[in-house]
Symmetry: C2
Subunit: 498 residues, 2 copies
């Protein structure tokens, strides 16, 4: 028996148990690297990975330390008697090996995998190997099975609502934060829309990051229900809700790996929406040569896939293939994106027209879920709501109800990237622009990012600014600068006409 | 600037930096999960992954803690001034994504990947995704490129020797520790054989584990050279040598994942041998339906692959396809395997004949690398060396020179698995037997394992013992017991004749 000690270290998803090298109860020489253990003493055993300590000030030989994640799970006071045993490998790891070998896994296997992930029986390494192994191919029934598994047991119910709508985008296009404008329009119209947003995985900013510039997004389930009742819509970070735990854990690993497979993304989005109790969903599938989805064929396959999964799980999906050939809006990074959004909602003259038009188009599609709306009227209704100022009013209500955020500052380290020749902007490379923005610090700091002054088709003179880099600290600034010189992401056609 | 503190925690390969949540120099709220950082202040920056600390007794707000791995690398005293910056993703991670997408990687890409792994720029998750992504397929030139990359910069030189021999087995067959007997025979004969052995990855015991029962295997480079000069051979854990660092790091992740791809294994074995300065290598490729290599075709492909890589890197390879249809020897697990080996070397009547014959056959193949030996004489010479007692004498010399080990005890928790019917043993499932042995604790404790009383073709009476499980602790014992009842791994043909 060992005495429990809390080691107040957060290790992000992974449970760590700290054992002294001269442990009185277990011979650490025999413990091989990265050993998974079961820790007994609480209501049920918890799983953790061993690390060996050579300092009795951290843990004594008769103690076992647990990091904050594990300590919260075991739910025992410090000093409690606990014991440990080597944990056998999670049985579902055998399915990962089957997937590596190229097999199709059953629904039962996906359920076991996600269950073991949620029970912290997988290390982050195991999750990484699951993601990579299943990333190479998954059949549609496999994506369905993974979606069902990721939904988990707790599904939000909206008993007093008829339909519950939401909107989500498959991403890959910098800027592109129509979500917040759409939510404002839907709220003003009055359909219930508990918009679950995510933090950035591989992009400069997720919708949750951008809205966090304006309002508190860490909203719990009860508060979300109250907000939707009051305002018809809310925009929340889904991590704060007790749903789709598997998606949250898997996302952490995806973010770390910078690896996001479309089929996993589809399963994860649909699982979160279903767990949030959404009944009607518009999905934006942007296509462009430098976007996440590169061809119309690929977009069409993805559309069929989500329609299939949606049909099987009774989620009404309207999947819309859109133009993702260049960034949407001018700002990239949370603060700059929030600025663009507010310009659109305020009907400013310098509001980015592409962001405005795309938001109206997609908001119209969401509105048309309403059986009371005449077919083909969605866009016009959305436009009226926006231009009348009702969308702005609705968003301001949402912001104040969720809690207005202290506006973060735009990064003060700036550099203007200028055209080296006169001509017309022929193309903007989404992936490149995203990478420069991420290096500039955008995925870490809301105030970092890129501000695009020119878009495709714009005339530029030599020496004119194409975009401005904003960084919050000098290291990020140096990273972005070192990369941007090789390739700005812009192609200028010097022949001059587009 | 922060003050360096050593956090005496070993985390196995990964560098961890501990930052206080109220850090005075960096805003931890902005630091996303699992962030890779560069730590500056030493001769060159080192890489680490951040964990957040809520206890000033572990690190204070003006300190940055480094775990033992990272602290050793930065090579600065505690209290030194250090700073940190977010590290951009290792450039070679883009190659992993290319591999996930099904591309063939260039030699330069493999070199960059291994270089980044050795520089601790990959997390264990990144390594896992590399292993899984490349595990699905690698071309022969890719395996060659990976092998070259894994060799690293430091290659042992044996300037006074003509040829330097070694032997290695691809594994997958429980028991099968011919290596130690072969080494004893080669030492007695007089060819230089610096046998580099590995710890168990997915098996009950690696050769290094088994020989560690008899002698110290943690031998450094100078000592190894002196030992080979003195005794002509040595058996050492390659982890103690300053070679093939990439292989060591990758192995830790493979062990954790329990995932071992043949092409990685081939690259790793050949890289270690080349880095150890071996010029002539016998490779054992055991084939059996329940072994790692399941068909002769698969074995043949593997043979061609290692021959190709060997030819390109000037390593003379004799790859031998052998019978891996059932365990070799009776003991499985380090102590029991060492017992079998000593029985063979002592010419005991109850020595396992399969282990004896296979060792002689393979030792003969190694001996025939000697240009002075007449073709076809290897087996006879090996047999003479063994039966005369000279092999035993040579091994005893090796044991005493390396340092005799305190013999670990055989696990005292035992259970006899008995035949449920009379008949003939028709087959023994290697993978099943290995799993039962691993669950019994064999990969963790040298004294745990299985002792086989019956082999394929043996007559058994109902109630007679097939094998005995040995465990060192009750948890492992319970694991093994819970699994063995479902399937003992033995098939008995009750018709009675084989």
């Amino acid at each position: 028996m060992l005495n429990l000690k809390h080691i107040a270290v957060s290790s992000f998803n992974e449970n760590i148990a700290y054992i002294h090298r001269d442990c009185t109860a277990y011979k650490v020489d025999d413990v091989q690297t990265l050993t998974k253990v079961e820790i007994h003493g609480g209501v049920r055993p918890i799983y953790a990975f061993l690390q060996v300590v050579d300092d009795a000030k951290i843990v004594k030989p008769d103690e076992l330390g647990l990091n904050s994640e594990a300590f919260n799970q075991i739910n025992l006071p410090e000093g409690a008697n606990i014991s440990l045993s080597l944990a056998p490998a999670a049985p579902s790891l055998a399915s990962i090996k089957r997937k590596v070998a190229g097999n199709i896994l059953s629904a039962g296997e996906y359920a076991s995998i996600v269950n073991d992930i949620v029970s912290h029986r997988y290390s982050n390494m195991d999750i990484a190997s699951f993601l990579v192994a299943s990333g190479s191919f998954m059949t549609a029934p496999e994506v369905l099975a993974l979606t069902e598994a990721l939904i988990g047991e707790d599904v939000m119910r909206w008993d007093n609502e008829g339909i519950v709508v939401d909107f989500h985008c498959f991403g890959g296009v910098p800027g592109n934060k129509t979500d917040i404008i759409i939510t404002a329009i839907i709220a003003a119209y009055g359909l219930p829309m508990p918009k679950t947003a995510a933090r950035s995985l591989t992009s400069c900013a997720g919708v949750a990051d951008t809205f966090a510039v304006l309002a508190n997004v860490d909203i719990d389930e009860d508060k979300l229900k109250a907000l939707v009742k009051e305002n018809r819509a809310a925009i929340v970070d889904y991590n704060a809700l007790p749903i789709a735990e598997g998606s949250k854990i898997v996302s952490t690993v995806e973010r770390h790996l910078g690896l996001l497979q479309l089929q996993h993304l589809a399963a994860s989005i649909l699982a979160i929406k279903l767990a949030a109790g959404v009944t009607h969903l518009v999905l934006d599938i942007p296509v462009g040569p430098s976007s996440r989805i590169k061809s119309t064929n690929e977009a069409m396959r993805l559309r069929k896939l989500v329609e299939y999964v949606g049909d099987m799980l009774s989620l009404e999906i309207d999947a819309v293939i859109t133009d993702g050939s260049e960034p949407i809006g001018n700002g990239i990074g949370a603060v700059l994106e929030a600025r663009d959004i507010m310009k659109v909602l305020r009907n400013k003259e310098d509001a980015p027209q592409d962001l405005l038009e795309k938001s109206l188009f997609l908001a119209g599609r969401v509105l048309e879920f309403d059986p009371k709306l005449r077919g083909g009227q969605g866009y016009a209704v959305a436009k009226e709501i926006l231009t009348s100022g009702r969308a702005l009013e609705a968003l301001n209500k949402i912001i104040y109800s969720q809690g207005k955020a202290p506006q973060p500052q735009l990064g003060h380290l700036t550099r203007d990237i200028v055209a080296t020749q006169s001509g017309v902007v022929e193309s903007i490379d989404n992936a490149r622009i995203n990478r420069i923005g991420v290096l500039a610090g955008a995925s870490q700091y809301p105030g970092a990012g890129l501000d695009l002054m020119k878009k495709v088709g714009d005339q530029v003179e030599q020496g004119e600014t194409l975009y401005r880099i904003h960084s919050v600290n000098s290291t990020d600034f140096a990273f972005a600068n070192s990369v941007v010189d090789g390739n700005t992401g812009y192609e200028i056609n010097s022949k001059g006409t587009y």
